[in-house]
């Protein structure tokens, strides 16, 4: 067994490396448990694409609202963005609450040289990788099904990741404050994520909403993400709207991440 330890072998790693080590830990977990995520991450959006894009879409005439495109083509990039937000919402709720409350794995990491902010950095980086991976898998299937227009969707994938992160960061900040069993999460899914998915421009343009509802849609990441993601996919990007969408998403992410960093620090070192 270990003999008298004059000095420990442990040392402090830099902040980026620290976050990547947290990512490595997440990856170790994912390698064992990825199967459970395939249905919600990939199968579900593909089913939506089949049922709503191809099935229901066969009854929809290409119009100005769909940019003159077949409905399935119109839907495919938006579905990528909306699914990204759905995965992000799940990943930033229960797993984070669990790491604080049930498994308490964050406390284990916080006892090592890794700081709370670095734990958050790793967690968010891992989520971005997760979103990119799931999105890429979905795009592959969508491409095989002929629902894509061209290589622009690669940009849409980046937009989808950003949109997911913009939603996940503030939700993660909230999850980090909870002491409950997570009942609040159902409210988030039912009253924010689902309405946002259905009504914020993914399945039909928000111009179809009653005038008084539209401003609400404008404040959702899904609306900004789908607008930007579609333009990227169809090559119809124009400077000012794109910049506006991008700014909204980046600012939401940064605010959320800042708040989450504060809440992680409070909870892990109080």
């Amino acid at each position: 067994m270990t003999t008298a330890t004059a000095t420990s072998t442990g040392r402090v790693v830099g902040p980026v490396r620290a976050a990547l080590l947290v990512v490595e830990a997440m990856w170790t977990w994912y390698r064992r448990n990825w199967r459970a995520t395939v249905v919600s991450s990939i199968v579900q959006p593909v089913l939506f694409l089949l049922a709503l894009g191809f099935g229901f879409g066969s009854q929809v005439q290409p119009t100005e609202a769909t940019g003159g495109l077949a409905y399935v083509v119109y839907l495919a990039p938006a579905l990528l963005v909306a699914t990204s937000v759905q995965i992000a919402s799940f990943e930033s709720t229960y797993p984070i609450l669990s790491a604080f409350k049930w498994q308490q794995t964050y406390f284990a990491i916080a006892a090592s040289p890794i700081t709370p902010a670095q734990i958050l950095g790793g967690q968010l980086t891992w989520l971005a990788i997760r979103l990119a991976g799931s999105g890429a898998a979905y795009l592959l299937v969508a491409a095989v099904l002929g629902a894509l227009t061209g290589p622009g969707v690669v940009l849409t994938l980046l937009v989808a990741v950003l949109t997911g992160m913009a939603f996940a960061a503030p939700v993660a900040a909230y999850s980090a404050t909870l002491e409950s069993e997570g009942q609040q999460f159902s409210a988030i899914f039912r009253f924010i994520v689902m309405p946002m998915t259905l009504f914020a421009g993914a399945f039909f343009p928000v111009e179809q909403l009653p005038a008084w509802l539209r401003p609400i849609a404008w404040f959702t990441p899904v609306w900004h993400g789908t607008e930007l993601g579609r333009d990227a996919a169809f090559g119809t990007l124009s400077w000012w709207p794109a910049l506006g969408h991008l700014t909204f998403l980046v600012v939401l992410f940064l605010l959320g991440a800042r708040l989450a960093a504060r809440n992680f620090r409070r909870r892990l070192s109080s």
Binding site: T5, G10, V13
Partner: protein, 309 residues
């Protein structure tokens, strides 16, 4: 800073949570190579102290140095050289036993090869070799505890913090754990242990402080404390629940008398002699027991309360 042998040095250390003071000004010196105990009931401030020493809880007032550094400024550098066994296991139960060690070791900047070799060594030490590639979830409480201890050793810590290491374990699992901790101590690791088990403190600690209500009420080796605050032996007498109080008849027989809900404790150098004298006075207990004094008696003397109900 000069290494004067004190791995942990606290002066008037205070921890407040809002209005509530969990730790109310304690002085502590933990020397290299010793096993140091914090003994006290739940809520005494032991865990708050441990969290400050573990650099995951900033102090509210007073001074604290750990490994010669300031936790507020050098938290990560100190934590790199600590091992921590928290009160509640926080293993990743969806990973294998071995993976828990691998993943954790990496947080300390250790190479994959180093962590692999170290994990094999620690699995052997914790007697978990046969379960190495099983998921953690179904393991017994004792096994999870041993894995948590193994994990805390992944960086060859100079100082190991154990917060109630055997709470909730069955006797066999406790003894196995004590044996492992004793070996660690033999190999030169400095241990800080919190416990509310007297036998644990007596088994493991060279020196300890008794905490109550956020303060240190006594300090010394287990033998010193027993010598100072108790007698060599204790006579325990039990009476029928409805019997008249026999305290009067027992007056003056022992150095000190404690009345507990279910029994009387008589403190004396020679328990058998007191028992004989009690019999001579016509006292008829249901049962009697003469035993050595323990830290439990010290605690009772110092606080007027028993430690564990």
């Amino acid at each position: 800073m000069v290494d004067d042998g004190a791995l942990v040095r606290a002066r008037q250390l205070v921890k407040r949570f809002g209005e509530f003071a969990a730790v109310r000004g304690i002085d502590v010196d933990v020397r290299r190579g010793e096993a140091f105990g914090f003994l006290g009931p739940n809520g005494a401030g032991k865990s708050s102290t441990m969290r400050m020493v573990g650099c995951v809880s900033p102090r509210s007032d007073g001074e604290l140095t750990v490994l010669g550094m300031d936790p507020q400024r050098d938290g990560p550098a100190i934590r790199a050289r600590l091992g921590v066994v928290p009160q509640q296991d926080n293993l990743d139960t969806e990973l294998t036993v071995r993976q828990n060690l691998h993943v954790y070791g990496r947080f300390f900047g250790l190479s994959k090869a180093h962590v692999r070799a170290k994990a094999t060594e620690l699995l052997d030490f914790a007697q978990l070799g046969e379960r190495a590639d099983d998921e953690v979830e179904p393991l017994s409480g004792g096994m999870k505890r041993r894995l948590t201890i193994a994990r805390s050793l992944i960086n060859d810590p100079e100082l190991l913090l154990l917060d109630e290491p055997t709470t909730g374990l069955d006797p066999q699992a406790r003894h196995l754990l004590w044996d492992r901790l004793f070996r660690l101590k033999q190999s030169g690791v400095t241990l800080i242990i919190t416990t509310h088990y007297m036998d644990e403190a007596e088994q493991l600690c060279d020196r300890l402080v008794v905490m109550d209500g956020g303060r240190i009420v006594a300090e010394g080796s287990p033998a010193e404390l027993i010598g100072r605050y108790s007698t060599r032996e204790v006579l325990e007498l039990r009476f029928p629940p409805d019997a008249a109080a026999p305290e009067v008849a027992l007056e003056g027989l022992a150095d000190r008398l404690e009345v507990l809900p279910d029994r009387l404790l008589l403190y004396a150098a020679d328990g058998e002699a007191v028992l004989a004298a009690a019999h001579a006075r016509g006292v008829q207990p249901l049962s009697s027991l003469v035993r050595r004094s323990t830290l439990e008696d010290v605690f009772l003397r110092l606080t007027g309360r028993t430690l564990v109900d």
